[in-house]
Amino acid sequence: MRPLTRKLWRDVLAQRGPAAAIALVIGSGIALYVLMVSCFWSLERTRETYYERYRFADVFARLERAPQRLEREIAAIPGVARVRTRVVRDVALDVPDLEEAATARMISIPARRRPMLCDVFLRAGRYVEPGETDEVLVSEEFAAAHGLGPGDTIHAVIGGSRRPLRIVGLALTPEYVYTIRPGDVLPDSRRFAIVFMERRRLAAALSMEGGFNDVVLRLSPTADRKEVIRRLDDLLEPYGGRGAIPRRLQMSHWYLENELDGLRKFGRTIPVVFLVVAAFLLHVVMSRLVSVQREQIAQLKAIGYSNRDLALHYAGWSLVVAALGAAFGLAAGAWFGAKMTSMYAEFFHFPLLEYHLPPRVIVEALAVGAAAALLGGQAAVRRAVRLPPAEAMRPEPPRVYRRSVLERAGLGGWLSPATRITVRSLERTLGRTTITVFGISAGAALLIGGTFTLDGMDAMLDLQFNVAQRYDALVTFYLPASPRAIEEIAGLPGVIRAEGFRTVAARFRHRHRLRHGVLTGLEPGARLRQIVSSRGRRVPLPARGVLMSAKLAEVLGIRPGEALEVEVLEGRRPRLRLPVAGLVDEPLGTEVYISRDELHALLDEPRVLSGAHVLLDAAGAPRFHRRLKNTPMVAGVVLSEAAIRSFEDTLERTVGIVRTFNVMFAVIIAFGVVYNAARISLAERARDLATLRVIGFRRREIAEILLGELAIVTLLAIPFGLAGGWLMAWIVVRAYDTELFRMPLVILPRTYATAVIAVLVAAVLSGAAVRRKLQRLDLIAVLKTRE
């Protein structure tokens, strides 16, 4: 090994504490980067292959009912490469281990297995075969949630009669990577199944023979998507078309895309904070190293080492630290990335979710780490290069101190000599003090930004389920029910109160912008379903016009007072122009509300019901469900309570992991910064402290000087950290402002408190580490070395 290389290693070794601390900070940044970006690529790659192999469609459309011959006309639309028509219907499902009915989305499949759009992947069992009984394939996650498998039988109420369905296989499809039951806001795999049944049998059961009510298309690469959708809508219009949507708006795809987007965004931003802090730390440590080694630098220059040699030597120091950090970061990132990817399998149902760490990500991570190192080290390296050798031959002149601000302000008398030393030295190294304060507050801010989401989620769920949706069950009918149905439901056992509502599928349009959705007609006096803004304010239904989600208004570019074009996609399909009476910033979804009376009038219909919100008494609930399970007109029952519990379960498991990462990395950053600051002031002041010891100061007293400095810096950093945390949370909230949900910016005191405690723990730990060094302070060695 060349002597200069050897010196490099020994220098790193001598500074192993700070070097390790900085390496950890760099490593945390790299780990987060690798973690998020590799997760992104794993999901992205899995999705791409899945979509490709199982022929995910490009356009999706639902309708009431069209004759089979229409398929040929659809296929003739220019740009359409493949067509698959289907029969699809949501029905109530009776599973033995569930008190209430679950919902099954029945999807028709051909009698004989052949390649098709939105194909099925068979996880277990076999494809359906003709025979006596109805054979079905069931979505894997539903089967798993109930311990069902091939050979088991479930019961569905299809077309008014209860039919046994024999499960012969467990299946997955690219169309339902993410499954959410219509009307639900959260996924619940116990209560929502995708069931595949042979086309002719399903059609017969639903009286849909010779027809279809759902169509999916694959487009040719050159197709004009908008034009195809327009022509498809025209074709389907007479058959009750509900409006075709491109892949981009398909539910499962949309959720997946949102998640990928988040990973991509945060993968590129959060790690930057770590790398910036690491660069600052490197700057401080390297500057210190160069000033301690100024004589060595002069010496090396005198011997004949060139500026380039020295620049490489000192840049090498930061590169070694970065390399250590990168090694740790890559390992941790890959490990956590694999964990997090398998966690995604809970939300997203893929045949195989394989962790994939592209070599490109490794290269990028290394490059980013090296860049941070060089950036942090460059000032010090430049100083080493510029140092005139003859001058550096003589020791550095004594450092210049002066009376601190406090003393100049006349408060000197209040300060003990020890405090005076602390305050003056903090002030002399103002730049470094600032960096330290910044670094610690970055740690606290990251901690808040990374953990407040649970507060936001809690607030959101609380609002949704305790204020907006006060009902215990949501009953939906296949077809609009007569007004008397509400009395029947109210008369069911266990029901305390029932309120009817009316919904119609609709297309909302403003100028050239368009969204599909549901127009919801509510009673103005409804108590079980209320409209609540994300701040918890109740918003009353307007007497005239619609009340719409502020997010949808933003998407459509519409303001209160303007007219919203509403194309009703059911019944007589009227085209309406309704004034926007007001906006409400709900945390979930993109709803449009109208008073029920107005809706009935607009549709020119009696007071029919699409469903009812029901309040149950706990004791009577089981009987209520038993009755409903066998009521043919009921399509499904959604339970709020169950939805929250099942979602919170998943959240606990998954967010728990993410929280652990965040807390861990934030503590690392705080510890790294405080520890480094302490080590450097110890090194710089070892002589002073040793002198004080020689004069007769006690260990305790000199420890107070040094630790006092740490305490001041840490306390100073906390308010900045809290403010920075709020800012981070704000950024996260902005990033997650989607049509699916908007997380409210809620940060509970417990989150702030956790951040403060974590920073204090980090400070105490580093204080203890430095104190140990201080105990071992070798008076003679310190006083003998020349600085």
């Binding site: 060595q296 220059k301 004949g304 031959m393």
Partner: protein, 251 residues
């Protein structure tokens, strides 16, 4: 021993009849410390001949180290010109100065100046690693009587031992000129003599031009020529007809 006036210092080179190793004309160095300029050198003229052994004496602050630093390419003068053989150091670029230091000069500093994180041998290797015809590092250390302490770190060596490592490091590159700033300042007589003998042997056997700064007038008698600096000028030049061997010195 004859004393001459500063005006005819240049003749030493003429006497041997070869190109001088150093040619210094009107060398001035002014340090600016805030308002007050410090004149470290006030117009020094000097020729140094090949193989010459020069001792520089003078009171503290008289500019000895400054002169040596400039000759060694570590510092640049405020005014005046310095030639190393045909090369004008006062016009050399940073690169050229580095190459000059790397290949031509061996330094021994006033303070020991070793790299504390490297052992004695490694400190010497620091030089042998980057020069063309170096000595074996162990031989260089043996030459200064440190054959036994090769693997000690500077902190494990006494002041005199550290100084000898510094000398070994300077001679290990087989330099053309050897510049030593108080090489024996911290040494006792017998160690000092060991060091001086080493320097003397290198000068005699290899022909390395050697310049030594010292406060010890006794050392002057082993020189070809003695320069006495005072207040930034060469106040006196003494030419020794006979050099006394280092072994016979005492102080």
């Amino acid at each position: 021993m004859t004393a001459r006036q500063p005006s005819d210092t240049n003749s030493a080179a003429n006497a041997t009849g070869s190109v001088p190793v150093f040619r210094v004309r009107g060398l001035t160095k002014v340090y600016r410390m805030g308002e007050v300029p410090v004149h470290a050198l006030r117009g020094v003229d000097l020729d140094v001949a090949e193989r010459e052994f020069i001792v520089i004496l003078g009171p503290s602050g008289s500019g000895k180290s400054t002169l040596l630093n400039i000759l060694g390419g570590l510092d640049v003068p405020t005014e005046g010109r310095v030639f190393y053989r045909e090369q004008e150091l006062t016009r050399a670029s940073e690169r050229e100065l580095t190459a000059y230091r790397r290949h031509a000069v061996g330094f021994v500093f006033q303070f020991y100046n070793l790299i504390p994180s490297l052992t004695a041998r490694e400190n010497v290797e620091l030089v042998t690693d980057i020069t063309e015809r170096p000595m074996d590092p162990d031989d260089a250390l043996r030459l200064v009587g440190l054959g036994e302490r090769l693997d000690h770190f500077p902190a494990q060596l006494s002041g005199g031992e550290q100084q000898r490592v510094a000398i070994a490091r300077a001679i290990a590159k087989n330099p053309d000129v050897l510049l030593c700033d108080e090489p024996t300042g911290a040494l006792d007589i017998s160690t000092g003599i060991v060091v001086l003998e080493a320097l003397e042997r290198i000068n005699r056997e290899i022909g390395t031009t050697t310049m030594i700064i010292t406060h010890n007038a006794a050392i002057a008698s082993m020189a070809d020529r003695v320069l006495r600096l005072a207040d930034g000028r060469i106040a006196e030049v003494i030419v020794n007809a006979d050099r006394r061997p280092a072994r016979e010195l005492s102080w």
